[in-house]
Symmetry: C2
Subunit: 323 residues, 2 copies
């Protein structure tokens, strides 16, 4: 190693703009010391990303720093939790200064936007593997869980779907595109915007929620399994970006929208009586949201397009990410 | 992957004997939901171990499961915190059943001993890299920090030193030994016993504390730097195991005791007036402890042996672990 763990931590990971007053002791001792918020539960999530598995080799370190934190923030968003503290484990083969600087910049820019302080970490020599753990607060008993979807509830998604899946194919060079939309799609892959404020605003309204990391079919199935229900999914209602529609034919766009992961949008269920409230919330945060299906008693997912059974092509399903 | 992440989690990491009543929601949703203890601070630590860097290839998975948790427990011990919740990130190339079973057994056996519940995790395909994060409680303002050692304080260590360093050389095949002590030394490397109860009992008595992961010299220097002091270290007072003395000459044993890491004993400072209390505590827990130096005003470490300056041979310093 060109410089020691201690130097890495000091040089790149202690100068933070966020200094929370619930942090008694941050980076630099055997443990961090933190003060949890009274009458709240602590929401905790841990995520690991491996080079060559979750992101391509030679990924821009700034984009990586952004993404590893975004993925964890998205988990907090899916619980309706307010982000607070992060810890980071960074295994790097050769810690080069430009790489660490870029990584730290990507991480801290997003952390600052969400009021997150890095309170601890471990840096080791090894293959490029990054693990982030994030802690947030949610008022006692008010977290959005996967279990809770009821028969008749509408299924909503935020934003647009399939963009990151298209971005991955562009990043891997499987697709070439001169279209203006290509930049947007790659940005959606590399710089997901976790729906943290939306998740917090949905407390007490959504009956179940999850973030879309593995694709709509896989993730909605998990909500259904946890809730003991099934769902009809209206494929013709799925929100697609102009960029996605400009780059691929509609069939492929729909396949990506149901099958591809990494969009980090929220999928949640609400009683139909609260649909207007939900749409007002999403308008307020400029992300938009749309009803894309309905919870039903029969188990499993039933995909329809214009009322007819729909079978997606396999093109939309990720082969690169393996989770 | 021979089976999916979801199956791994369900099959090996959800059947736990520890079910804490401060866990509202454990493994299986986007986040765990936890209830922190009122009037306590939360102590949080994260540690990563990489195959070929922190442990040799072909390490017994049960020993690895034990060790990754032991390392984090040792950090909590060094703060005087009571262990509560763990999260685990496991990157494995090929998740074979026998390996996962062994790893989970090692992890959960130790977790059960310390009342720790695994509340979340991420399992991914990749090089063998394990990250554990551990949360514990310490009454507000009572944590043992690195800063706090005062001039005149005695420096104590628990247990015996240098054993794990010798165990590593045996494990790597650099040393061969038929001595009966060799098994003990390898066990000290592979199955460290974190000094959790000792750390909790030292609250309000120790002025500074740390666990010995990188070797006595490196770690005591950190206490001194954080406290703005120096120390005299009495090398002839260092506690050595019979096993270590039976396997190597005394010069080499002392060099390991000051330089080698991975012992996971505690190093702490106490005012001389409280020495008897400290020794009574360590007798109660059967680990023993011994004064090995004294804090002084002049910065830096001053090593002496029978009152004369001591220069350790480099043999005791780890070349395998790189932290």
């Amino acid at each position: 190693m060109s410089f020691s763990e201690f130097d890495i931590i000091r040089r790149f990971f202690t100068e933070q703009s966020v200094r929370r007053d619930d942090v008694s002791l941050g980076v630099g001792d055997d443990c961090a010391l933190l003060r949890a918020r009274p009458e709240h539960e602590l929401a905790v999530t841990i995520d690991t990303m491996v080079e060559g598995v979750h992101f391509p080799p030679e990924t821009d370190p700034e984009a990586l720093g952004h993404k590893v934190l975004a993925v964890s923030l998205s988990d907090l968003a899916a619980m309706g939790a307010e982000p607070a503290w992060a810890t980071l484990s960074l295994s790097v083969p050769e810690p080069e200064e430009w790489w660490l600087e870029g990584f730290a910049r990507g991480l801290f820019t997003l952390a600052t936007q969400h009021g997150v302080q890095l309170v601890g970490g471990d840096t080791v020599r090894g293959p490029l593997v990054v693990t982030t753990q994030l802690h947030g607060f949610v008022p006692e008993g008010r977290a959005l869980r996967r279990a809770g979807a009821a028969v008749g509830d509408l299924v909503y998604v935020t934003g647009t779907l399939g963009d990151a899946g298209a971005g991955l194919r562009l990043a891997l060079g499987e697709w070439a595109s001169e279209e203006r939309g290509a930049d947007f799609l790659r940005r959606r892959l590399e710089r997901p915007a976790p729906r943290v404020r939306e998740g917090m605003a949905l407390r007490g309204i959504a009956t179940a929620a999850m973030d879309l990391s593995d694709g709509l079919i896989a993730d909605l199935e998990r909500i259904c399994a946890a809730s003991g229900v099934g769902a009809e999914l209206w494929v013709d209602h799925l929100p697609l970006s102009e960029a996605l529609e400009s780059v691929v034919p509609i069939e492929e766009a729909l396949s990506l929208a149901v099958g591809a992961g990494d969009d980090y949008e929220l999928c949640f269920t609400v009683p139909e009586t609260r649909a207007e409230e939900v749409e007002a919330i999403c308008r307020r945060f400029d992300c938009g949201c749309r009803p894309v299906g309905r919870i039903e008693a029969a188990r499993g997912l039933r995909l329809t397009r214009d009322g007819k059974p729909y079978l997606p092509s396999t093109a939309g399903f990720d082969h690169f990410t393996d989770r």
